[in-house]
Symmetry: C2
Subunit: 235 residues, 2 copies
């Protein structure tokens, strides 16, 4: 018997107002992921504070966030730096990635969840393969994997994966285009997705792991090729 209820209390939508530190964090994150701030760059607090017109505390908090996120490295009393990932880092990230994506694929195949998001991501990959530059092609690739994880519907699993991919993107800059990839990428993902849809968990995870292993070894090679210096630091 509710009379004139304009907005039902269950309909509330967060209405994302962002705080300053969040805004700074996303801005800096974008600059790092886009490669504008290359590995080894120090992120000085005063400079950032001035450039964004915020207080130093806000910048500190934002950088602290990104450090916890794994995207930056903090050296006590020295500052925050964009890390240069080593082969060890790549292997480490690969481990976590296998964990998350294997679980996702297994669950999706077992309980035939809807894969609409995955199909959308795949069609974006189709477009990218046709005409997009290498960099966007990689992003489309990652987009599929993200969609697969998101399809599971676990907020925390998606969170872990997102942070993981973010860190991985730091190394991705070292990956140079290989024409072969442009050909194999589409059928590989098509097969993976259709195997998931067919409901064969074991086969799907096997495909996935082969795919990820390949990607990881490519990346490890690329990273080894890039300048090995003392900037690289343990997390």
């Amino acid at each position: 018997m509710r009379k004139l209820v304009v907005i039902d209390s269950r309909d509330v939508v967060p209405l994302h107002r962002v705080s300053t530190v969040e805004a700074v964090a996303t801005a800096v994150r974008a600059r790092v992921l886009d490669g504008e701030l290359g590995p080894g760059t120090q992120l000085r607090e005063v400079a950032l504070a001035q450039s964004y017109g915020v207080a130093r505390h806000g910048v500190r908090a934002a950088l602290h966030s990104l450090v916890q996120e794994g995207l930056l490295r903090h050296h006590p009393n020295r500052g925050v730096f964009v890390p240069l990932l080593t082969a060890v880092d790549v292997a480490d990230l690969h481990t976590v990635r296998c964990a998350v994506e294997s679980e996702a694929v297994t669950r999706l195949a077992e309980r035939g969840e809807p894969l609409t998001g995955v199909y959308e991501a795949f069609s974006r990959l189709e477009e990218a393969v046709a005409r997009a530059p290498w960099r966007e092609l990689i992003m489309a690739d990652l987009g599929i994997h993200r969609a697969v994880v998101d399809a599971v519907g676990s907020r925390r699993l998606s969170r872990v994966h997102a942070s993981l991919i973010g860190e991985l993107r730091l190394a991705l800059a070292a990956l140079r285009e290989k024409a072969e990839k442009r050909r194999t990428m589409l059928p590989e993902h098509r097969e993976l997705i259709s195997t998931i849809a067919a409901g064969s968990p074991e086969k799907a995870t096997a495909l996935l792991r082969a795919h990820l292993d390949q990607a990881a070894s490519d990346l490890a090679l690329a990273v080894l090729g890039s300048p090995t210096d003392t900037l690289t630091n343990a997390g």
Copy 2:
């Protein structure tokens, strides 16, 4: 030709000096995990700042850390609270836990890594089963799982798992003692470990998943039994 080098540069040990925010964070984390600060409690900045004798900024940073860690919830302009986990949260955490621990068990079984840490954890569980109270028994249980993940040797995998278990411990308070557990706990883990050591990945992960499923459903039931109120919030 080094002359009179007292300390070789390779011998440096981090010498963990902790910053104030780190100190505050660990202090608060301990109080939350020990249940001293129950679900729904608000962590007020000024109060904490006074009680620890630090500036409000430090407290803010520390709380921010714990929020990112998943241990606390932040409501804009309202503050930071100890969350009350719902059955949904438990299921969500279970998903990630399956991902991480399955991967760990698979890898360990596949490449016969040394399991010394796991054996140590197991002997601690033996002691706990014999005479420790329920709470410590649970911690010993978690200790085994932590050791298994750590044995993989992936920093990031261990990190994810640690944060995961931390959040899970929030719900663990609702879990009441069951005498049956005290009997089944030891043989269950013994079988899991020996299967890993025997190098049978499939069987080991199957055992693990059954074990985790059981734990998750126990927890979900316990959480449903505890007071359901509006304090619970989405992450």
